[in-house]
């Protein structure tokens, strides 16, 4: 039983990883039990650490059902009234739920990861009733892509072929799996987007530093604020190299030096020209606004920005260790399954 669950975990992770970039549909974001983020004026006197920085410390959760991109049917409607919002929420919740039985046996199997696994906050839209997490461009959609170089087209095709093999249950080796399934990186790489579960982020601060510990996978981005330069250009990292500074009460984080492996840079943008800037602003006791802007002239026709409200979790809830690789039985199950299929001649 445990194995099957773990296997489906892997499938879901793979689906998430693939769906997000290709369809640009958000693994939606934000939760909503607290105050409206974008419309609430920032607290007059923001909470401060004893050394004078805005205080972002605590465990935050970014789950929401609001999609990254505005559904095409909603056109230019960026914010909904109460009735519309209730309907929007119900529709999204229906689409996200995995206990429904409207897809036939095959779909049903792929929904093995049912609501039991889902963060219930994932079924709520943002408190400000936005129709997309993207706030710029104003249409709430990822800007059109620029033509890719032949090299990047090849790379994209290579990755797509690996995904096809994986989805057919015929991965040739471990490199046919996505990085999240391999437990190399998961939701710890910026930008942070909501996913089905484990949407917690623990922010720690000390004089001159902010550290962000995403639940998946137990890595911490330790961000110096003292203006010292990035690591050298030949030192690349899976999570890049982050530097921060305060602009008023907002923590601004710029991250560079990403590795060039498939799946590392957000939406497979071009590692050398891709830029990401994140902004963290404490709104009130229980809310923080997380905003990111990405740009890459070799991928998108213009920069774009999304905003996701983060909500402080009850201190009793705590964030727990997410071990991934240590018990990643999936890897062997998928591969031995593929070999068994090949032996039986199921090589479609």
């Amino acid at each position: 039983m445990q194995h099957r669950i773990l296997a489906s975990l892997g499938i879901l992770a793979a689906m998430t990883a693939m769906v997000v970039p290709s369809a640009g549909q958000a693994p939606a974001a934000a939760k909503s039990s607290s105050k409206v983020a974008s419309k609430t004026p920032a607290a007059k006197k923001p909470l401060r650490t004893p050394w004078g920085d805005p205080d972002l410390q605590g465990v935050w959760n970014d789950a929401t059902s609001t999609p990254l991109q505005r559904p095409t049917g909603l056109a230019e409607k960026d914010v909904l009234n109460d009735d519309e919002a209730a309907e929007f929420r119900a529709q999204l919740a229906h689409d996200l739920t995995r206990d429904r039985r409207d897809g036939g046996a095959e779909v049903d199997v792929n929904r093995a990861y049912n609501d039991h696994w889902m963060d219930s906050r994932r079924l709520k839209i943002t408190a400000d009733h936005r129709t997309s997490l993207i706030v710029d461009p104003p249409n709430g959609r990822i800007p059109p892509l620029v033509p890719l170089s032949p090299e990047r087209e090849q790379r994209k095709a290579r990755r797509a072929a690996a995904n096809t093999r994986f989805n057919a249950g015929l991965p040739e080796n471990y490199t046919d799996f996505t990085l999240p399934v391999r437990c190399v990186i998961r939701t710890d790489s910026p930008p942070y987007l909501p996913t089905i579960y484990n949407n917690d982020f623990h922010i720690f601060q000390s004089p001159g530093y902010v550290a962000i510990g995403p639940e998946m996978i137990h890595s911490a981005r330790i961000i110096p604020l003292d203006g010292h330069p990035h690591v050298g250009k030949n030192l690349k990292q899976w999570l890049g190299d982050s530097r921060g500074h305060w602009e008023g009460d907002t923590l601004v984080v710029e991250t560079t030096n990403f590795r060039a492996d498939d799946g590392v840079v957000f939406m497979e943008a071009n590692p050398d020209t891709y830029k990401i800037t994140e902004r963290f602003t404490r709104v009130d006791a229980t809310t923080l606004n997380y905003e990111f802007t990405v740009e890459d002239p070799k991928t998108w026709t213009r920069p774009w920005t999304a905003r996701i409200p983060w909500n402080k979790i009850d201190p009793d809830e705590q964030m727990y260790e997410y071990a991934c690789h240590e018990d990643n039985y999936d890897m062997v199950h998928f591969l031995t399954g593929a070999r068994a299929r090949e032996k039986r001649g199921e090589t479609k």
């Binding site: 650490t49 471990y174 190399v184 601060q205 137990h218 010292h228 240590e326 062997v332």
Partner: protein, 297 residues
């Protein structure tokens, strides 16, 4: 100041230092401070955080060879010296265990020896054998406590004004949260354990339970059961050193609690930072290569 006076002043300083050092030797052990600190460091009062407790922020690293073996060990070649030569060889080192030896129960000592013999064997062909053999470090698993502290990699302490202190280790990007004055029990076993902290004077005391039983202490196969209980003590003894001590208790494996201690050094490079040692990709061929399509042919 005349030269004579200078000389006198210098002599006074030396005398005072000797007195202070002596006081140190007397006072420190009596107060249960790390014995390894005895006489090594002048009395020191660490800078304070706003709450009045010592500021332990920094990038720290142990420079002992305990990750190879907590106990005395000779230099030894790495695996496959016919290929690797002196690469991957292990340095000699002296025991960091108080009294030199880990007090194993006889049957547990047998298990440790078997662990060592099979430290480089992996068998992930079945979920049942997944964790039975092989050093978890070989497989890039989170190292647990106290091993994370003395792996040959730095770690960073992030201490602010919340009840949580972060310890972020370079090896495998492992992290753990020290919950200050937290009373609750570990909710579930984990690789890095459930860490509850409190201050005893200038010492950060961390009580760790709730471990997964699979972590090891070193490449020599030293191990524990799920009943492992570790009490760590971090004491600032100079601007550049923390004295580290861990008391290890596990009634299933040892005849009595035992203790390790060594200093942690502040990494002083101007550009120091904890980099990534994401070793999962280094292990995939070893773990999963035999299940690939090309291997099946």
């Amino acid at each position: 100041m005349t030269q004579r006076n200078l000389f006198k002043a210098a002599k006074f300083v030396v005398k005072m230092a000797a007195v202070i050092a002596m006081l140190g030797t007397i006072v420190i052990p009596a107060a249960g401070q790390p014995s390894a600190a005895s006489g090594q460091f002048l009395p020191y009062k660490a800078p304070r955080m706003a709450d009045g407790h010592p500021d332990l922020n920094g990038t720290w690293q142990a420079f002992v060879t305990a990750d190879w073996d907590l106990q005395d060990h000779e230099a030894q070649p790495g695996p496959h010296p016919e290929l690797m030569g002196a690469y991957g060889a292990a340095p000699a080192g002296q025991s960091v265990v108080e009294g030199g030896e880990i007090p194993y129960k006889p049957e547990a000592l047998e298990r440790k020896k078997q662990n060592f013999q099979k430290r480089m064997t992996v068998d992930v062909s079945s979920d049942k054998t997944w964790h039975q053999v092989g050093d978890p470090e070989l497989k890039c698993y989170m190292p647990g406590v106290p091993r994370a502290t003395y792996m040959p990699f730095p770690f960073r302490i992030v201490q602010g004004s919340s009840p949580y202190i972060l310890m972020a280790y370079e090896f495998a990007s492992a992290t753990r949260t020290i919950r200050m004055d937290w009373k609750g029990e570990a909710p579930t076993p984990s690789w890095m354990g459930w860490s509850r902290g409190h201050w005893e004077g200038d010492t950060l005391v961390v009580d760790v339970t709730g471990f997964r039983e699979e972590t090891w202490f070193d490449r020599a196969g030293d191990y524990h059961s799920e009943d492992l209980h570790v009490v760590e003590r971090y004491t600032p003894v100079s601007p550049y050193h923390l004295m580290y001590e861990a008391t290890i208790e596990d009634k299933n494996v040892y005849t009595r609690p035992w203790k390790i201690s060594f200093p942690l050094y502040r990494r002083m490079e101007k550009n120091v930072q904890v980099l990534e040692f994401k070793c999962v990709p280094f292990t995939e061929e070893m773990l999963y290569g035999r299940f690939s399509k090309s291997a099946a042919k």
